[in-house]
Symmetry: C2
Subunit: 338 residues, 2 copies
């Protein structure tokens, strides 16, 4: 059996209370006995049972992570992984553990968000990849469990958010194309139920507006954030509107699909059509042509999200919405006209 404080107490010939106090660094315990207890605990290789403790103190030092729709297909654009790395690092530094909630399985899906958290006894939750129309989102807002949302800035009590400045990112992407002399700029967006899509559209429109370029709805398509969606949208846009000389894509994966799609109909990037992506995923620096894109600091998003959540849990004041800067990364997929 693994030793308990009772075993230590017996060995040290004191009460469990004293052991508990010594172990938890209380000052009202004799130096000698304390030393003795610590020594014995060490000898016995004692380690506290967190379950038992949490029953009393109602804190588990555990953060839940709700990854919606993380499946095999998310592997290419490993954005979730980068965010996860940042979260994992920061929560480790802050001495919290991370538990992954599996929301893909049907069985789990039946459970309410709240019971998911309650059962596992997590202190707070970070949520990413959730769609605006996901029923969980409602529950989350209403629940009193502290949480931080990635990419959805909900204004509620106990809810924080971190996201990239999507408007600015899309604005920079579009403006970069405009400055390059492009006048007919298509936009392959994600889907209507993504907050980032709404914001990126906003940035796109704003840039056109600021540069006196007419906004044309028919220049826009949804590529559902997938490579294939980008592929088909690009073909559709380029075929229907051959005057388009540039495409802004709301994700790199769609941009990569778009490059293939264009190639398929005899157009090359950037000679015939220029492309700017969004995300700056690993592949973007290696594909051909390398992709001009908007860099999101995914690692930092995770890192800051963990920080924010722990701040909330430990009662520190936080600014509920953190927006990280987006940055243009120039590579080969844009041709400067004139």
């Amino acid at each position: 059996m693994t030793p308990t404080i009772k075993d230590i107490a017996k060995a040290a010939e004191v009460s469990v209370t004293t052991v508990s106090r010594a172990l938890n660094g209380y000052t009202d315990v004799n130096e000698e006995t304390k030393k003795k207890i610590l020594r014995i605990a060490d000898e016995l290789k004692y380690s506290p049972n967190i379950a038992a403790r949490s029953l009393i103190v109602k804190k588990t030092k555990t953060l839940g992570l709700l990854l919606s729709g993380i499946t095999r297909s998310s592997i290419k654009d490993n954005i979730a992984f980068e965010i996860l790395c940042g979260m994992n690092d920061r929560s480790g530094e802050l001495d919290y553990d991370l538990v992954l909630f599996n929301t893909t399985s049907q069985k789990q899906r039946m459970k309410s968000y709240k019971s998911l958290c309650l059962e596992r006894g997590v202190d707070g939750v970070i949520i990413m990849g959730i769609r605006l129309d996901d029923p969980y989102l409602q529950e989350i807002v209403q629940s009193s469990i502290p949480c931080v949302l990635i990419d959805i800035p909900l204004a509620e009590k106990n809810v924080g958010s971190v996201s990239t400045d999507n408007v600015s990112g899309a604005y920079q992407a579009t403006e970069h194309l405009i400055r390059g002399g492009h006048k007919h700029i298509g936009f392959i967006n994600g889907h209507a139920q993504a907050y980032v899509s709404i914001k990126r559209l906003e940035g796109y429109r704003l840039a056109l507006l600021d540069h006196d370029i007419e906004y044309r709805e028919e220049f826009i398509a949804d590529g559902s954030f997938s490579e294939n969606g980008g592929y088909e949208s690009a073909i559709m846009l380029a075929t229907k509107h051959p005057e388009i000389t540039a495409l802004f894509c709301a994700s790199d994966l769609m941009a990569i699909g778009a490059i293939q799609g264009l190639k398929n109909i005899g157009k090359t990037v950037p000679e015939n059509v220029s492309i700017v992506g969004f995300d700056n995923i690993a592949i973007s620096g290696y594909c051909s042509p390398t992709l001009t894109t908007i860099h999101q600091n995914k690692y930092d998003m995770g890192y800051r999200a963990a920080q924010m959540l722990v701040d909330m849990l430990e009662g520190r004041q936080v600014h509920p919405h953190l927006t990280l800067p987006a940055e243009l990364v120039e590579r080969q997929s844009v041709r400067i006209l004139s």
Copy 2:
């Protein structure tokens, strides 16, 4: 407060014992009262406290995941992520949760492997990315906590492993080059403290042997599995031994670095030097030239590892070493001579 079985008992006017039994599907409880209890539990939105339960049953339905050295740099070759996806999917299906152990932080590193597991009360652990010389490895072997190792086939009680058939993979890679007419084949390996490196070297040697090609130690370099390591090793090998016309790299990331390194000294792939990688990471299909490589089914590794661990936990017989097939994926980085 969140409701407990006590609250349900009060509302249903029965004892907590009966409630517990009803909730856990025991048969010795009246249909009527059972229905009533279930209804009330539902009304109260009751969800069991896993911590309290685990105190008694000593099972947490939680799997620990020890990721060694998963940091920002692991983002490009997101192998860990793919494995994680597989694990997450399977453990979800089997109704287990996954908790990430943060072993990068110094603080955590001080803790013994065993106390890490004990504190968190995980039923078992999956371990990946650990080096042969990591002190944890010793502890793991000795400890009685069931675990599954990724890529290290230790033969111990309560220890299982899953890995790709590295010997066969390396053999296929080398043979593919030999069949292509290459006689001077360099090998950029990872590092001596990786089990996979040992095995891949074995496969490389075996292929040379089978085809009557002399094994030359000076054709081998360690690239530490990093892009930069591959870059420098390739330059070194190609400069010292200009007769080398092909390079087998123990990871795609090193292969990609190697391509750059060769380019830097005026050699192109595959015209001057052919390259075969290992892993088949996402980038390999997009870089230029696209990379001929050995495919590892990373998702499956995670999936099967989770399955194996749960099998062990639930007392089912398992074969302790699972080896998944490796498969050659032909792309553009190899030139067939004559």
